[in-house]
Structures are given as structure tokens and as C-alpha cells.
Amino acid sequence: MRRAALVVAVPIVLAAVTPWLGSRYHVSFLFFLCMAVVLTATYDIGAGYMGYINLGHGAFFGLGAYVYGLTVTHGGPTAAALLLGAAAAALFAALVGIPLFHLRGAYFAISTFGILKIMEILAANLRGITGGTTGLSIAPTRSTFPTFYLMLVLAVAAVGLNAWIARSRLGLGLLGIREDEEVAEVSGIDTSRLKRVAFVLSALLPGLAGGVYMWQMTYVDPASAFGTSVSFAPIIMAALGGSGTVAGPVVGAVSLTLVEELLWSRLGYLQLAMYGAVLVFVGIFMPGGLMRSRAFGRAYAALGLPEHYGYRVGTRTVRSRRSHPSPTASNSCPVHAADSEPVGGEGRGAGS
């Protein structure tokens, strides 16, 4: 347990001292790394726990960025601008969630993408408010310290939120929805309320992160706020790391950002193609992501991290629901047990 605490604390402390010890480059790199962690971890609340793919997760981020920028240009204080951005994102999620959660599976995914596109076009066309395609600029800030620490706090908070969800009643309900919504419904889970709560939770921190991003960059345009890359990067990172685990989004965000920084920023092109190749590879050969691969599972166990935050999110449910261990859970390799998605088995009846 002490080792586990170290594994969590050391990177945070290292990141926290970077502004004093590292260069501007390091600070900026870590800023975007933390942003990736925020977006990926919050995206995974929907995709990983609830099983609803949100192809327009960047809409929350973009809304936060625009609301922050607009509040500041109209003379609002920074703190109010940040909070307004988060509130706008949460309100947007609550409102959009009402009609959208009548849909499931592919239809839900398609409409979230549609809504992202609508937001992008609105941002480009409402020139009087948003500045159109030329974008929105605010006065630059002197120090990068506050934005950096805020983003770091947000990243820690996002992972903490997922860790809490993984252990909470809410998380159990969401896993139930993911595995079989009808069964969850008849088991007494208020699925429509839970889905909306999870959606709002997944919108809050990206809204804040959008505000912090705007504070740091002082400029936003429709493409950088609502463009496809903001929305697709979290999908790719979560899939790579392991969707539906607490550590997975962090692993995915960190590894992909690192690879991108070390290899592709030097190359300068074909970055999207690299994203695409990673996505295809993971989708076919590693649908459980890195966290559920054997090597990562071993490393994770060796670090002494609690396994229910790693590859075994949701396994607790099996123990309480079934008196005997399920055939897949007694598999010799515990790492792959999580792949069998214990709650309801594969679809209907296949697991029983």
C-alpha cells in the first residue's frame, strides 16, 4: 500500500516542482499532458463505465473555453469566468442529455458527433458573439504558474473522480447500464437519472479545463475548440490505455502524448495517421487496452496499486452477485478475467 501511495504521489510532486526546476518547454508539455488526462478520464465516465460512446466530448471543452473568453472580454473576473465555463458545460450536458439518452449504441454516438458539428458551425457563424472563424482573443497573462497548477489539479481531480465512481453505487449502476440496460432497469436502477448524472459529471471538468486552456492560450477558434481532434484524442487515448479502468485513461493519455512528443513533433506531419494506426491496432488486437494486457497487468500488480482501480473495475460485483466464481474469473491469468466483463457476461446469456 505504501508503494502504491508512492506511485501516485511521486508523479504529482514531480509535476508540481516542474515550474521551478524545468524549462518553459517542460511546463507547457506537462500542461497539455494534464489536459489530455482530464479529457480522457472524463470521456471514459461515459464510454468506459456507462458504455455510451460520446464522439463529441470536445463540445464541453470548447464551451468552457468560449464562455471563459467571453466572460473575460466582458470584464468578468477570472474565477467567475472559469466557474461559468464549467457551469455552462454542465448545463449543456444536462439539457442535451434529456433527448439524447433516448438513444442507444450507434445512434447515441452519431448524434453526439452531430451536436459537436452543430456547435462548431454555431461558433463559426455567430460572428457577433464568438468572432467567427477568426476566433476569440483575450489579453495575455503574465505568468503560466496559475494555469499550470490549475490544470494539474484538474487532472488529479479527474482521476480521483473516476476512482470514486469505480467504487461508488453510481459506478455500479453505470456498469450495470453498460452490461445490460434492461437488466439494470428491472433491477431497480434509475437508469435515465444515472445516465444524466454521469453525463453532467463528465462535462464539468472538461468545461473547467476549457477555461484554463483559454486563460493559458488567450486564443480560441472553432477548430481548436470544437474540432474533431479535441474530441477524438480522448477516444484514442482511453482505448489505448484501457477503457473502463481508473488507471487506463491516464496510461493512454501519458503514453500517447509522450510518443507524439518524442517522435512525431520532430517529424511534423502524419500525426493524425499515427493516431489512426494506433486506433486500428488497439481496436483489433488489444480491445481491452494496455491495462488489460498481460505485461501491463503484471507491472500494475507489481507496483502494488489496488487492482480494483486497474484492470478489475467491476469485478466486485461478481462476488456479490454470484455465489460461485464465474468460469472466466477462475482463468489462470487474472489479467484477462476483466476482459470477460463479469456483470452480465457477453450480451444476453452468453456468460451464464
Binding site: 464510454a47 458504455g51 460512446i53 464522439l55 433527448p99 433516448h102 438513444l103 449504441g105 450507434a106 445512434y107 454516438a109 452519431i110 448524434s111 458527433f113 452531430g114 451536436i115 458539428k117 452543430i118 458551425i121 454555431l122 463559426a124 457563424n125 453498460r178 474533431t228 477524438f232 477516444i235 484514442i236 482505448a239 477503457s243 506531419y269 502524419l270 500525426q271 493524425l272 495517421a273 493516431y275 489512426g276 494506426a277 494506433v278 486506433l279 486500428v280 491496432f281 488497439v282 481496436g283 483489433i284 480491445p287 457477453e346 450480451g347 452468453a350
Partner: protein
């Protein structure tokens, strides 16, 4: 009045083109249950192939469309065999997740590679025909011929789907996959043919698209979404419905562009998409 009519006639052409491009998406979603987010990129690739065939091979768009369709059919079969047939398909949700990952990844890779090789910027096939002049009215001959070509292709597709065994097997598989299996349809072959046919149709539509409008490497994903709107409005796997959906979307876009300004027209399809999913997920012509 004349503007109204002109917009309406233009919308028929645009709608027919939408139908041709979109119907493959409807087939692959209906038969394979795969949400193919890379569908629009095959249209883009078809457009570029037609462009190069015209520029270096001197092929007119109609011959190029046939050639491109054959080539892309092969590419689609290869793509399906190599990647999509291997998707983990334990549950519907898992198939959805992995198909989104793989087809989105392919879309990003295709778009970025095309942009890298092509060098960015948009282009079109500079193929022109003389216009027919009848008194005061000018008929753009190219548009008319393209309209007839698109309609002919759609009609051929309709005949294929309703009159031939393979076509009927495809339709049967969209309606009830298990039922199709029970009556002895080789669903696997149907799946391969469906996917190849779908992207081949999109690619040939791409050649026509490039002749009428301009194409650029990053158009694919937005186009896929627009095509989803077309097939959702019409109903999955329903060709007459898709035709109606294509026309509805093309007409609303054209009228929005005319009355509210062209910068609002890209939004129409997305609004219609979301509304159609919420109000009539079975499509305009579909039954409950």
C-alpha cells in the same frame, strides 16, 4: 419562383448523388452492424482516383466511375477481410466500440495520408460539356447527364436488391440476420459483397461529386455524418427511403443556403440527423 424551381431541380441532382454515396453506409450498417466512419473517405478516394484518371488517363468521368467502382470494390473487400472481419463481435456494444475505433482510425489515417501525398488544397475534375440553350433557358448538359447517370445507377441498384438472389439476400440480412441464416443464406459472403458494393458505390459517387463540386482530403468524416443523416431520415437499408432522405437533405440545404446564407447550410444536415434520430429512428418510410 424561378429561383425556387431552380433550387428544387438542383436538389434532385444533389439528392441523387447523396443517395448513391450514402446507401453503402446504410447497407454496411444494416447487414454488418458496423458503423463505418470511414465511408466518406472512400467517396473522397474515388473522387481523387477519378481526378487522376481524367488528368493522366484522359478518361471521362463516366468511364472513370466504372473503373473506380471496380477498383474500390476490391479495396473494400480487402479492407473488410483484413480489418473489419476480425472485429471482436461478442456483444453489440463491443462490436460498436471496436468498429468505431477501427473505422475512425482508418478514416484518420486515410485522410492524413491523402493530404500528405496530395499536398492539401481542394480540387475538382475539370470536365465540361456544352450547355443546351432552348430559347431563354439554359440547360447545363453536364448536370443533366450526371443526374441521369446517378438515377440509372440507383435504379440498377434497386433492381439488383429486389430482383436478384444476392440482392435479396442482402436485404434479408438487413431485416433479420438470424432469419437469413436459418433460410440458408451465406451471411459471410453477403457481408463481404455488401461492404465492397457499399464503398464502390460511394467511390463512383465520388467521381461525380468531384466533377460537380470540389474535393479535399479532410472532407470524409463530415461527409460520413451527412450520409448518416441521409440514411437515418430514409430508414436503414431502405433504398427508396434513402432517395427521399437524400432529396430532403439536399433541398433543405439548398433552401437554407438561399434564404439564410450559405454558411448556415452545413448545419442543416446535422440538425436533421439529430431530429430524425430522436423523432423517427425507423426512417420516414419505415414502419414501427
Amino acid at each position: 419562383m424561378s429561383a425556387f424551381l431552380q433550387i428544387l431541380v438542383g436538389a434532385v441532382l444533389q439528392g441523387a448523388l447523396y443517395t448513391l454515396g450514402a446507401f453503402g453506409l446504410s447497407l454496411s450498417f444494416g447487414v454488418l452492424k458496423i458503423l463505418n466512419l470511414s465511408h466518406g473517405d472512400f467517396l473522397m478516394l474515388g473522387g481523387f482516383a477519378g481526378y487522376f484518371a481524367f488528368l493522366y488517363g484522359g478518361l471521362n468521368p463516366f468511364a472513370a466511375a466504372v473503373l473506380v467502382a471496380v477498383l474500390v470494390f476490391g479495396a473494400g473487400v480487402g479492407y473488410y477481410r483484413a480489418l473489419l472481419a476480425r472485429l471482436p463481435s461478442g456483444s453489440f456494444r463491443r462490436l460498436l466500440v471496436s468498429s468505431v475505433m477501427v473505422t475512425l482510425g482508418t478514416a484518420l489515417a486515410i485522410e492524413d495520408l491523402t493530404s500528405f501525398l496530395w499536398g492539401g488544397g481542394s480540387t475538382g475534375i475539370p470536365y465540361r460539356m456544352t450547355s443546351l440553350v432552348w430559347g431563354q433557358t439554359v440547360f447545363p448538359l453536364l448536370r443533366l447527364v450526371l443526374l441521369f447517370a446517378t438515377l440509372a445507377l440507383t435504379l440498377m441498384l434497386h433492381v439488383f436488391l429486389t430482383r436478384t438472389f444476392l440482392g435479396r439476400a442482402i436485404v434479408a440480412s438487413t431485416i433479420n440476420r438470424e432469419g437469413a441464416l436459418v433460410v440458408g443464406i451465406d451471411v459471410r459472403t453477403v457481408a463481404v459483397v455488401t461492404f465492397g458494393l457499399g464503398v464502390a458505390l460511394a467511390a463512383s459517387a465520388g467521381v461525380f461529386y468531384a466533377t460537380l463540386y470540389t474535393i479535399e482530403p479532410f472532407m470524409g468524416l463530415a461527409l460520413t455524418l451527412k450520409y448518416l443523416a441521409v440514411i437515418v431520415v430514409g430508414g436503414i437499408g431502405n433504398l427508396p427511403g434513402a432517395f427521399l432522405g437524400g432529396f430532403v437533405i439536399a433541398a433543405s440545404e439548398a433552401f437554407t443556403a438561399h434564404y439564410a446564407g450559405p454558411h448556415w447550410s452545413p448545419m442543416v444536415a446535422f440538425i436533421i440527423l439529430v431530429l430524425a434520430l430522436l423523432l423517427r429512428p425507423q426512417g420516414l418510410l419505415g414502419r414501427e
